[in-house]
């Protein structure tokens, strides 16, 4: 029953959006041509330019993630049920974080390009702002999942609320939070590669230019470069996660 509904909706969507098989066929033929143009991948003599753009992208991702993590930490404390001073404040902060999260990073990039101008700085701000929303939500969920006991112990020994957070809460959430930050750093590297398309710095601009001029061999090179960088970051973050959490959980 459910499967019929699911399939029916899919067929309806095809009809509604006006997708024709002819369009699909001719497009696939074009795609075949592009694939032919992509091999062999070449830099077209712009290797240094592409490498510089790629490091710009990495810098954007790194700074954006770092700033977001720093900004999200206090917001998460206010948004978590067990550490918030007021439920009304919690509700407001959560809705605020949802707004930050709900607006896609690319849209933020457009807004920031409009205010601070073209260039990677807009990209850093875009990633920082949208990630603050995501981190705020994730961190607060991690905080809400902690045990009360550790903090109660610290308070029973005479510690104040801040000390109880530092020694009772932080050791529990730090591994989880670190893992999420590393995951987002990898994801942000990929986001940073595309915000260049709207002028926010990084390799995105090069990519869209080369696609526009049908220089698909350079497109192939750039895509391979992105894949390589993301693979390296993935590997590094895996190692770091292992170092922080320990083998079994890091593989989860």
């Amino acid at each position: 029953m459910v499967s019929i509904g699911v399939l029916g909706l899919a067929l309806f969507s095809l009809w509604w959006l006006g997708i024709s098989f002819r369009q699909l066929g001719s497009g696939l033929a074009e795609l075949g041509k592009f694939l032919g143009l992509m091999l062999p991948p070449s830099t077209g003599g712009h290797l240094w330019l592409f490498v510089k753009a790629m490091s710009e992208t990495l810098a954007i991702a790194f700074l954006g993630t770092l700033i977001a993590a720093i900004l999200a930490a206090p917001l998460a404390l206010l948004a978590a049920k067990n550490t918030t001073p007021s439920p009304v404040l919690r509700f407001l902060i959560r809705r605020f974080l949802d707004c930050l999260r709900g607006i896609d990073t690319l849209i933020w990039a457009l807004v920031f390009v409009g205010t601070v101008g073209l260039g990677p700085f807009a990209g850093v701000l875009a990633i920082a702002v949208s990630d603050t929303g995501s981190f705020g939500k994730l961190f607060s969920e991690a905080i809400e999942a902690t045990q009360k006991r550790e903090r109660e112990t610290v308070i029973a020994c005479g510690g104040g609320p801040w000390i109880s957070i530092r020694f009772g809460l932080l050791p529990q959430v730090l591994p989880i939070i670190a893992g999420q930050i590393l995951y987002f750093f990898e994801s942000n590297t990929r986001s940073a590669t595309i915000i260049g398309i709207v002028g926010a710095g990084g390799i995105g601009l090069q990519l869209s230019e080369q696609i526009r001029t049908y220089d698909f061999d350079r497109v192939a090179f750039i895509v391979l470069m992105i894949l390589a960088v993301v693979a390296v970051i993935d590997w590094i973050s895996g190692k770091l996660r292992f170092a922080i959490i320990g083998r079994r959980q890091a593989l989860a």
């Binding site: 369009q23 001719s26 990495l58 810098a59 849209i107």
Partner: protein, 294 residues
């Protein structure tokens, strides 16, 4: 007056305090090392990313005034009139939003079906061939790593403007993402039903259909719904490059400074995404209560 508490001899206390001090000092050194590395990397990155704090502060007023400008003027005595003005193109935008959701739906549907079928070729416990398994895993990785907007740019060149490019772009990216998740699910099933089918002489297709599929369907459906939610967000963006949906109008509104249109469309997008969030979460709670955040 001696207290009732037992105390250790002074030298033992000294030793304990010293070893505690060492442990704390070691942790502190580690933390300082980590923070130091982060700080150095941050400074290096700021150089690359042309971070200019003075520039930001100078333009911060620009940012707040931007938000001021995109908010509509809603007067309480002319409320309905003002809202009608703000949403002058409500029907047009609603149609585009509907398109957007359908694009996400088609992309997720095709991606989930394809990934669901191929995940079993990549799962270590049921894969028929090691080489095939390696190839499928690399395929999933490739589709997942290339951002969907990059696929969208190329596909708009190939298929022309319109939703087809968007569906394919988001679909291929989701295929990779779901493929990885589905493979993990498939590798975690109970092997007893699989062994049972195998021992009756079943071939690969039978093993999958009767031994593995019934176990994994709830998890597959749950991940597919999560992906759908993410894809609705993505499909509202691919319009930027001409791949259909409300992204096109949003892009035009931002670039041409139609300020109130920006807030109108953004609000609609946020509400739609939140609604879909809620609905899919409800359905997912009934399907699979335990899963890790992807």
């Amino acid at each position: 007056m001696s207290s009732g508490l037992p105390t250790l001899p002074a030298r033992q206390i000294e030793n304990l305090l010293a070893s505690y001090g060492n442990a704390v000092a070691r942790r502190r050194r580690q933390s300082i090392l980590v923070l130091g590395t982060l700080a150095v990397l941050a400074v290096a990155a700021s150089r690359f990313a042309e971070v200019d704090i003075a520039h930001l502060l100078h333009h911060l007023s620009g940012l707040t005034s931007y938000f001021g400008r995109i908010l509509p003027k809603l007067r309480s005595d002319h409320l309905t009139g003002d809202i009608a003005d703000w949403y002058w193109n409500a029907l047009g935008w609603l149609k585009l939003l509907f398109d957007t959701v359908l694009i996400a739906y088609l992309a997720t549907f095709t991606a989930a079906t394809a990934a669901g079928a191929m995940a079993f070729l990549a799962a270590a416990n049921v894969a028929p061939s090691g080489i095939l398994r390696w190839c499928v895993k690399r395929l999933f990785e490739f589709c997942r790593t290339v951002p969907d907007l990059v696929f969208a740019l190329i596909f708009v060149s190939a298929f022309g403007l319109g939703p087809l490019a968007g569906i394919l772009a988001i679909g291929i990216h989701s295929f990779g993402a779901l493929g990885k998740l589905f493979t993990e699910v498939a590798e975690n099933i109970e092997m007893n039903p699989v062994e049972a089918v195998r021992s009756t002489g079943g071939r690969f297709a039978d093993i999958v259909r009767f031994g593995a599929l019934p176990q994994v369907l709830p998890n597959f459906a749950s991940y597919a719904l999560l992906r759908f939610e993410i894809n609705v967000r993505a499909s509202s963006i691919v319009g930027f490059v001409g791949a259909g949906g409300i992204g096109q109008d949003l892009f035009v509104a931002i670039r041409k400074f139609y300020y109130t249109d920006v807030s109108a469309i953004l609000l609609m997008i946020i509400v739609t995404v939140s609604l879909i969030d809620l609905i899919t979460e409800r359905i997912r709670h009934r399907l699979a209560p335990v899963e890790h955040v992807p």
